[in-house]
Amino acid sequence: MTMQPNRAERVSAPTGSVEFDADVLVLGGGPAGTWAAVSAAERGARVVLADKGFCGTSGATAAAGTGVWYVDPNPALRDAAMANREKLGGHLQDRRWMARVLDRTYEQSNRLAEWGYPYPVDDSGKSQRNSLQGPEYMRLMRKRTKQAGVTILDHSPALELLADDEGAVAGASGIRRQKDDRWTVRAKAVVIATGGCAFLSKTLGSNVLTGDGYLMAAEVGAEFSSMEFSNPYAISAAFGSVTKTLFYGWASFTHEDGSIVPGAASKGGRSAIARALLQGPVYARLDKADDAVQRQMRMSQPNFFLPFDRTGIDPFRDRFPVTLRLEGTVRGTGGLRIVDDSCATSVPGLYAAGDAATRELICGGFTGGGSHNAAWAMSSGTWAGQGAADYARQLGAIGRRKPSPAGTIAFRNRPQRAFAPAALAKAIQTEVFPYELNYFREASRLQGALARLDAAWRDVSEADAASSADLLRAREGAAMLATARWMYRSALTRQESRGMHRRDDFPDQDDRQRHYVTTGGLDEVWTSVRPHAEAAYAEAAE
C-alpha cells in the first residue's frame, strides 16, 4: 500500500520570516525526533521537524556508536534483561515500561533492517541488532523522515513555544540561522525531542544539547523528574572529544608516577578516577585487550581511534592522559516528566521523547552505555509522535485559537544591563563541571552552588533582550542555568545515595526514599516527591 503523505502547509508570512501550518511539530532531529516525526506522519499528521543543527548529524547519537537494548522476545531473556540493571538504577524502574520498551525497540530495530540498515551478520549467520553506528543510523533516519513527507527545517533552532489562551501548546518559533530570518510553526501538538543538557562539555556530539527544550517547556509550566540523576561523566583522552566508555573496560589507569590508581575502572570504578583527577593527571592504557579484541574494537568503532591515530599514540601500548567529561542529562536519566503511555507531559499538547524526557521508567537513577538510551529514544519517539498525532486529530479545526509566544528570558526589554551569554556559560560550567560539586555531592557545597546559580538567574532575569546575533546563545545559557538549578535542587531533596546520585553526607541508599523527585519552576525552583508505583503498593499492603 502506498499512502500519499500529508504535508505541512507553508503559509504567507511577513518579510524576514517563514510560517507553516502543521498538525505536529517535532523539535529536535536526533533518533527520538526522527522516530517521532515518522510515527506522527504514519498516522496521517502533517509534520514539521525543526533541528538546531542538521537532522542527520545533530546530537549525541549521530557522532557515536551506540548499543541498543535489543533482546529477542524470549520471556527468560527479557526477564533477565529487565532484572539486570534494577539494582544499579536504585530500583526506580517500572517493569511495565521496561517490557513495552523492549517490545517496541525490537519492532523498530527490525524495521531499520527492512529499511536497509547494514546490521552485521555473525559467524552463525545471525543478524546482530544490538548496536548501531551513529552516522549510518541517522543518515537513514533523515532519509526515512523525508520519505514520510515531513518538512525538515535544518539549522533552525526553536527559541520559544506558542501557547493558546487556555495554556495548551500551539506551536513554536525560532530562527533560521543560515538564512538570518525567523520561522514560526503553528501546530496542534509539539514533541520536545531536543535531547538532554551536557553544558557544552564537548562530550562527543553533545554541544548542541544545552537543554533548550527544557527551558521552553518550563515556560509553559511543564514539570521535570529525576533531575538529580544528572551527573554521569564519560572517559575521554584528555585532549579529545571521543568518549567511548565501553572500550575503557580493557584499560589500566595509572597516576603520573606510573602507579596503579586503586579501584579505578570504567565500570564500577569511575569515581576512583574522578578522585585521582582531583589530585593530578590520570593515564590510561588499553593493555587488557588481546589481539582479537583490538581488531574487533577497530572494526566496531573507527572514530574511537581517530584521536590516537592522529597523534601517533598506540592506545594499547602507550599510556595517555584521560579526563572525565560531564554528560549531564544526556546520559543522566532526568528530564521532562511523562504522565501517560503516549509520552504526554503535564502540559496539554506537549509531548516529550528521548533524552529530553525522563528515562527513569526504564533506567531508574542510572544508565551505563547507550543501550537503554537508544531503546528509549526509539520507543518514546514512536509513542510521542503517535500521541501527538492522535491529540491533533482529536483537536480538529483550530481556526479560532490565538497562540501567543511563551518565551521569557532574553526576550524581555529591561534596560538595566546587557545580556552576556559567553560569560554566563562559563559561570554555569564552573558550578556543574567540578567533581567535588557534582560527582561527589554534599549539602553545603550544593547550597553554595545553588546560591550562585540563583543569583545568576536573577541577573539574567533583569537583563535586556538579547540582540538577534546573541539570541540563540542567550537562550542556551538560560536553559543551562535553569537545568543546573533543577539538578541541584533535586540533588538536595534526595538525602541519600542512589543510582548515579551520590551524597558524601548520605552515603547509603535509604529504603524510605524509593520515590521520584519532581521539580520545576523558573524564578522559584520547587521540588516534591512522588511515590514509586511498587513502593506505594507495598505500603498499601502493609
Binding site: K52, G53, F54, G56, T57, S58, G59, A62, A63, G65, G67, P118, Y119, P120, V121, D122, Q128, N130, S131, Q133, P135, E136, D154, H155, R177, Q178, K202, L204, G205, S206, N207, V208, A237, F239, G240, S241, V242, L246, F247, G249, W250, V293, R295, Q296, M297, M299, S300, Q301, P302, N303, F305, L306, P307, F308, D309, R310, T311, S371
Partner: protein
C-alpha cells in the same frame, strides 16, 4: 577541531556548511570558510560527509593545532575516517563490520 578546507580538492559543494551540526562553516563565493572554529565540537561528521576528502578535523577538542596539509595528504590522513567507516566506494563492505556484539558484556 576542524583545521582546514583543502582548497586544492574542495569543489565548493557546500555540503559541510549544511551538515555541520554546530554551524562552523560559512558559504562564500569560492570555497567555504571555517568561520567559527571555536564552536567546533570535534565530532568529525563534516569529514565523513565531504565527498572530496578536503576536510581535516584535528582530534584536539579544546585548542587549535597547526597542521601540515602536505604531510597529511602523504600520510593518507585526508578521508581516513570516511574510508574506515565504509563511506567510500572502495570500502563499502565495512559498513556492516560492527563487531560490538562481541564486545558487550565485558
Amino acid at each position: 577541531m576542524i583545521e582546514v578546507v583543502d582548497a586544492a580538492s574542495c569543489t565548493s559543494c557546500d555540503i559541510c556548511v549544511n551538515v555541520c551540526p554546530t554551524n562552523v562553516f560559512d558559504k562564500t563565493d569560492g570555497i567555504p570558510v571555517i568561520a567559527r572554529q571555536s564552536d567546533c565540537q570535534t565530532c568529525f561528521l563534516c569529514e565523513l560527509y565531504c565527498p572530496e576528502d578536503a576536510l581535516y578535523v584535528s582530534p584536539f577538542a579544546d585548542e587549535a593545532q597547526a597542521i601540515d596539509l602536505i604531510a597529511l595528504r602523504k600520510a593518507d590522513a585526508m578521508g581516513s575516517y570516511r574510508r574506515a567507516i565504509g563511506w567510500t566506494d572502495d570500502t563499502r563492505e565495512r559498513r556492516g563490520d560492527d563487531r560490538s556484539y562481541l564486545l558487550f558484556g565485558h
